[in-house]
């Protein structure tokens, strides 16, 4: 009897052990990364399956385990719908032990998931979205905005192009909040840098034929035609600008362009385009090394969103290891304390508003004759330091920033 009793007791003790460890260690015995992204829609080339692959690479490179517990990467398609995104996130948090949600391309889905995650004390790592309120008045203490925001695109391209001699501008703007914000931001930067804005035309969203707007841009005589649009609108306006002979007399400046867009356009049509990017695969040895591994896996070179997903998941896993727990508060503290130092960013820190301030790059798309190998698309003209690329903390609208 006594012996049985004793073994029962020891069993109970054994069962209690992992429970006791949970407070300091890993909850549920697993660190789960959920990549929530657009798998088939408008952003599926710049994020989508590539973001999932990047997160998987980070988990594998970390050794598949953190604090002795397995790292699991799962993914779902949010279809760019905020309600779908927040429902998936809720299910992930409540039923599937997801500790961190990565990517969240398209700002409306990010803004829908952030408060859900914050209420449940889970972390969001944003790479795909760009909207400024994410780290402004709608910031949360459990969010990291990693790769780019509209401010960095407007400021990078706006001021850097004026410095390069592009003084007079005309905008072709997608007629909705995103496009108009991008136009206003960039126009004010251009003026502040000593440039002139000669005019703007607002095209309905979406538009397939840009010829009318391009003719207006052409007759304005501006040196730079700023494209305050995204995705298919940008691609079609670049293609048709080439057709109408706008370029090379005038130069185009894309305010939100990804390398996937350039790849699908081809260099013949895209050559000479100015753009700002957080990452370019062929920038240095480290970026080349990582990108070639990504290419071997996906048959595409990574966009800045893909590189950002890898780097942010890696940074998170390192913080879990350093903190000795996957508790969100402890991990966020570690992530903020530790600078990011990898192929994506150098000595970059996450601010109290959740924004990672890092170098951005002004690039110009090469002419076909200057492109020596596949995916040899950009010439990096200038490194834009974090204090010029991103908004200063002193101007932040985020309530978490103490002034």
């Amino acid at each position: 009897m006594n012996r049985i009793h004793l073994s029962k007791l020891s069993l109970a003790l054994l069962a209690a052990l992992p429970l006791a460890g949970q407070a300091a260690g890993v909850s549920d015995g697993v660190v789960k990364v959920g990549v929530l992204t657009d798998m088939t829609g408008a952003y599926s080339d710049l994020a989508g399956p590539g973001s999932v692959a990047a997160a998987q690479m980070a988990a594998e490179d970390f050794g598949g385990k953190v604090l002795g517990k397995p790292i699991v990467v799962i993914s779902a398609d949010h279809q760019n719908k905020p309600d779908v995104a927040s429902n998936v996130a809720r299910r992930w948090f409540d039923e599937e032990q997801v500790d961190v949600v990565a990517d969240l391309v398209s700002s409306s889905t990010a803004l829908a998931v952030m408060p859900v995650a914050a209420a449940k004390k889970r972390i969001t790592l944003l790479s795909g979205p760009g909207s400024d309120p994410i780290t402004g008045d709608r910031c949360t203490p459990y969010n990291v905005h990693y790769t780019y925001d509209t401010y960095s695109m407007a400021h990078g391209t706006g001021s850097a192009v004026v410095q390069q001699g592009g003084k007079s501008w005309f905008f072709i703007t997608a007629d909705y909040v995103f496009g108009r914000t991008l136009e206003e931001d960039t126009a004010s930067v251009v003026r502040a840098a000593g440039g002139k804005v000669l005019g703007a035309v607002r095209a309905p969203f979406p538009t397939a034929d840009f010829s009318s707007y391009l003719l207006q841009a052409q007759s304005s005589g501006a040196q730079i035609v700023g494209l305050a649009n995204a995705g298919a609108d940008t691609v079609n306006s670049i293609k048709q600008a080439h057709e109408f002979g706008l370029t090379p007399k005038q130069s185009l400046a894309g305010l939100l362009v990804f390398i996937s867009d350039i790849h699908s356009l081809g260099l013949e049509a895209a050559q000479g385009l100015y753009l700002t990017t957080a990452f370019y695969w062929d920038r240095d040895d480290e970026s080349r090394k990582w990108s070639q591994r990504f290419y071997a896996r996906t048959k595409k070179m990574p966009t800045m969103v893909h590189a950002g997903v890898y780097s942010e998941v890696m940074h998170y896993l390192q913080a879990v290891k350093a903190a000795g727990t996957d508790d969100a508060d402890a991990v966020m503290k570690k992530m903020r304390e530790t600078p990011v130092n990898d192929f994506f960013a150098k000595n970059a820190r996450i601010g109290p508003d959740g924004l990672l301030r890092h170098d951005m790059y002004l690039a110009r798309v090469k002419a076909p004759k200057d492109s020596k190998k596949p995916w040899d698309y950009y010439q990096i003209l200038k490194t834009i330091p974090p204090d010029q690329a991103f908004p200063p903390l002193s101007a932040s609208k985020c309530p978490l920033v103490k002034k």
Partner: protein
């Protein structure tokens, strides 16, 4: 000022000829088969993709693709009519609409899966590159070709339907298919070929569009709504109506882009609402 407006109107005419070409096929199919062909956008996209595949994978140039792609899509269209649409004859035409809409979604989904959303770029054929400065605007030579080719195809289709014996059969089939069959005309075959011809017209427009627009899986669903508006304004099934309205709406849109660009995406639908209020059968349609 007037020069700029003139430029915008010419651009409008170019777009209008695209609309005319696309709505022509739609009008022919509706006129004879009483099918609201929602797969028209997908057939247009298929035409563009076949041209791209031909060039990229097989080295087949634009001029061959201009005939080969419509032929291939036409054959596919005939198969769809023979195997699927024919089963829905005699039912409410809502069923045909749903079937073709479903087909369009499926084809678009497959292409998204296979080619990604950003699409692919098709170069302007070497003989038609460059642009001519007309003084008031720069006209790409390819766009001029689009206008000429579209007008030739539209008016020759109209001539065949209005002035030839085959056209007479088609028109008779529209009026009373049973009577025509009683006279010994193979009406089911005529239906199959007509649907194939409509699909081929869509694919022809797709090949014409490939060098102008990015070739993407969604290019068809973007354009199909406007094209339906054109057909409704012109009068469902009216061939001349589709051609004239296509060109007219292109001009209207061009003017809107000049005077009030923000409304240029809506102006077609305002026109549609007005026409439906004042002439429910459309400008060239007859009350049934």
């Amino acid at each position: 000022m007037t020069q700029a407006l003139f430029g915008q109107l010419l651009v409008g005419l170019i777009n209008g000829s695209f609309y005319a070409l696309l709505s022509l096929g739609l009008a022919i199919i509706f006129g004879l088969l009483d099918v609201v062909n929602f797969a028209h956008g997908a057939q247009y996209m298929l035409g563009a993709y076949l041209a791209w595949m031909g060039l990229t994978w097989l080295g087949i140039g634009y001029w061959v693709a201009l005939f080969a792609a419509p032929a291939a899509v036409g054959i596919l269209g005939m198969a769809v009519e023979r195997l699927l649409l024919r089963r829905l004859r005699g039912l409410d035409n809502l069923y045909g609409l749903l079937l073709t809409f479903g087909l369009a979604l499926a084809v678009e989904g497959l292409f998204r899966q296979g080619f990604g959303i950003s699409g692919n770029s098709y170069p302007v054929p070497a003989q038609l590159t460059g642009a001519k400065n007309l003084g008031f605007m720069v006209l790409p030579i390819y766009r001029a070709w689009v206008v000429v080719a579209s007008l030739v195809v539209c008016f020759s289709s109209w001539l065949v339907i209005e002035k030839t014996r085959l056209g007479a059969y088609l028109r008779a089939g529209t009026e009373n298919p049973r009577m025509l069959q009683a006279f010994g005309v193979n009406v089911p075959l005529m239906f199959t070929v007509t649907y194939g011809f409509g699909a081929a017209l869509a694919a022809f427009a797709g090949v014409m569009a490939a060098p102008v627009y990015q070739v993407t899986p969604t290019m068809g669903s973007q354009v199909i709504i406007v094209v339906f508006a054109v057909v409704v304004i012109g009068g469902m099934g009216s061939i001349l109506g589709a051609i004239v309205t296509g060109l007219g709406l292109g001009l209207l849109e061009g003017a809107a882009k000049f005077f009030w660009p923000e409304i240029s995406g809506t102006v077609v639908f305002i026109a549609m609402a007005l026409v439906l209020l004042l002439r429910p059968a459309g400008l060239f349609g007859r009350q049934r």
